[in-house]
């Protein structure tokens, strides 16, 4: 995802001179092309994310389109108040790009895990939260974010994630994309879990359960029309995210469900548990630990469908 981001950014910056990239001392070599072409529009802001966020807001107040970029925990919850006051309160077109979201950089430890950021950022008025499902969505999401008249949080994974979309698709902020048809259960996946959600649906298919998958890239604002249809059509809806089940995508769908009266479908949430992972191990290990693998998701969905309705 991050390579797609860097490539798309260089392309967009050539067309829009308002685009400025602020980096929190990260992205070694990643932005070489951008820096070579737009040296005057690149600022390494050092390991000082509160200041970087304020600078971005100051620039946006003067008509620029800044991006803050670093590892997700550092330009989100570390400087949450700067995001709230400097960016959201002023309603400024700043794009916060967090890389290594969820458990992408699990091996670096809990300091680099980011399983709370959606909860915090979606609580901020005016904030748009986008979690692209693959590299192709990253490119389109960035394009949409930079032409959006307000704050956007773009939640990226790492690099070399599988590309899910096999054909052209229409990307719009707040519009979910159906990526796999199905009839019994619909998996709503946000962010970098999309490839796993698709594999889980395929596994369910082999077990005789027809599972649809949608890339629900925009967590805020929610695609309400899509939700109304989905909760009416399916027996069960399952949210899938590499984020805590507290406050994240699944929570936002649960809130929506409560607010919109009785729905035909039951809701099940898949995400990380309310705990820190104290052990070493990369993203694959961390996903096993939190039951975010293909098999564990398929198993959870099957059991959910089989469980009697109280």
């Amino acid at each position: 995802m991050r390579n797609a981001f860097a490539a798309e950014l260089a392309e967009l910056a050539s067309k829009d001179t308002r685009i400025v990239l602020l980096s929190g001392d990260i992205g070694n070599r990643l932005f070489d092309v951008y820096k070579e072409r737009f040296a005057e529009r690149f600022f390494n802001c050092g390991v000082a994310e509160a200041n970087m966020t304020g600078i971005a807001a100051g620039m946006a107040l003067c008509g620029l389109r800044p991006i803050t970029y670093t590892i997700t925990p550092f330009n989100t919850i570390r400087c949450l108040e700067q995001i709230k006051i400097d960016i959201c309160y002023h309603n400024l077109p700043v794009t916060i790009v967090g890389v290594g979201s969820g458990l992408s950089y699990a091996g670096l430890g809990v300091t680099h895990h980011s399983c709370e950021d959606i909860a915090f950022l979606r609580a901020l008025p005016r904030m748009t939260v986008i979690c692209p499902g693959d590299a192709l969505e990253v490119r389109q999401a960035l394009r949409a974010a930079l032409s959006h008249e307000g704050p956007v949080f773009l939640r990226l994974g790492k690099k070399n994630e599988p590309v899910v979309h096999k054909q052209a698709f229409n990307f719009q902020i707040g519009k979910a994309i159906m990526v796999r048809p199905g009839t019994q259960v619909c998996l709503l996946s946000t962010g970098n879990m999309l490839p796993v959600a698709v594999q889980a649906a395929e596994e369910l298919g082999r077990q005789g359960i027809s599972a649809a998958v949608a890339s629900f890239h925009t967590v805020k604002p929610l695609d309400e029309e899509f939700l109304l249809n989905t909760f009416a059509q399916f027996k069960a809806v399952v949210t899938v995210e590499e984020h805590s089940i507290i406050g994240g995508f699944g929570s936002s769908i649960a809130e929506w469900q409560i607010d919109h009266g009785p729905q035909a479908a039951r809701l099940c949430r898949v995400g990380t548990a309310d705990e820190f992972l104290h052990e070493a191990g990369g993203q694959d290990y961390a996903r096993q630990y939190f039951n975010l693998t293909t098999d564990s998701i398929a198993k959870k969905v099957r059991r959910f469908l089989e469980a009697p309705i109280a």
Binding site: V20, E40, R41, F43, C45, G46, A48, A50, N51, M52, T53, G54, I55, A56, A57, G58, M59, A60, L61, C62, G63, L64, P66, E81, Q82, I85, D86, Y89, H90, N91
Partner: protein
Amino acid sequence: MHSQCLNPDRRTTMGLPELESIARRIRGKLVEMSHKSKAPHLGSSLSCVDILVAAYWAVLRIDPQKPGDPQRDRFILSKGHAASVLFASLAYRGFFPVELLDSYAQPGSCLAEHPGPACAPGVEAATGSLGHGLPLGLGMALAGRLQGLSYRVFALLSDGECNEGSVWEAAMFAPAKGLENIAVIVDFNGWQATGRSREIMALEPLREKWQSFGWNACEVDGHDLEQLVSVMQRVPDGSGKPIAIVAHTVKGKGVSFMEDDNNWHYRIPTQDEVRLAHLELGLL
């Protein structure tokens, strides 16, 4: 004071006695606004009146008729709790009617106890949480440089505000990028909300701190309008460095029974105290 005679670079052409008279009238207004609204932070506002008068009447290249002019100098009240002095200065300088000040901190008013975003013409940024104004100012200064505009940015901080880490993040950033179209002014009245600032955090030596962070730092009497104007007019000073002005001030300045008494961080003046203050300020 509504219609100012503007010289070509859009600063007013007022003499010292006129500036001092404006400062007295603003101080009187602030005491009245605090009494009427029951809004605190009067001591903090009185402390920086002269700094705002110097800025708005003698230094800033601004036009009250064009508050959104991309070329304008920017003044950020980073110590947002002194909102009343910002609002009064903008009103007396002609950005909006003085009568609007009567609504200060009243339910439904656009003028709240801390400035909101674009809450009134001339307000550059929403502030109130400390440590935000300087980073915002750096972004504005960089934007000016990128867009080839020669405006300057002034950020007014309180000494208590210098407790915030983000101030020092910003302090390290500006010299590294050779930003010279920005100045920080610290309203150094020696007090923060609940105590002497030097006893709460090791703030001093403050000028030397800014200097060692790469700023051209100086100290002035923050109530000497001539000094203030002279030092603020030197931005940028041609050295390629940002400028830090440590302005020594007295909290509650201008009203004898409020001066250097930190109770006036929160205390609200009574009707009698308003009258006494106005008497001392020569307004009655």
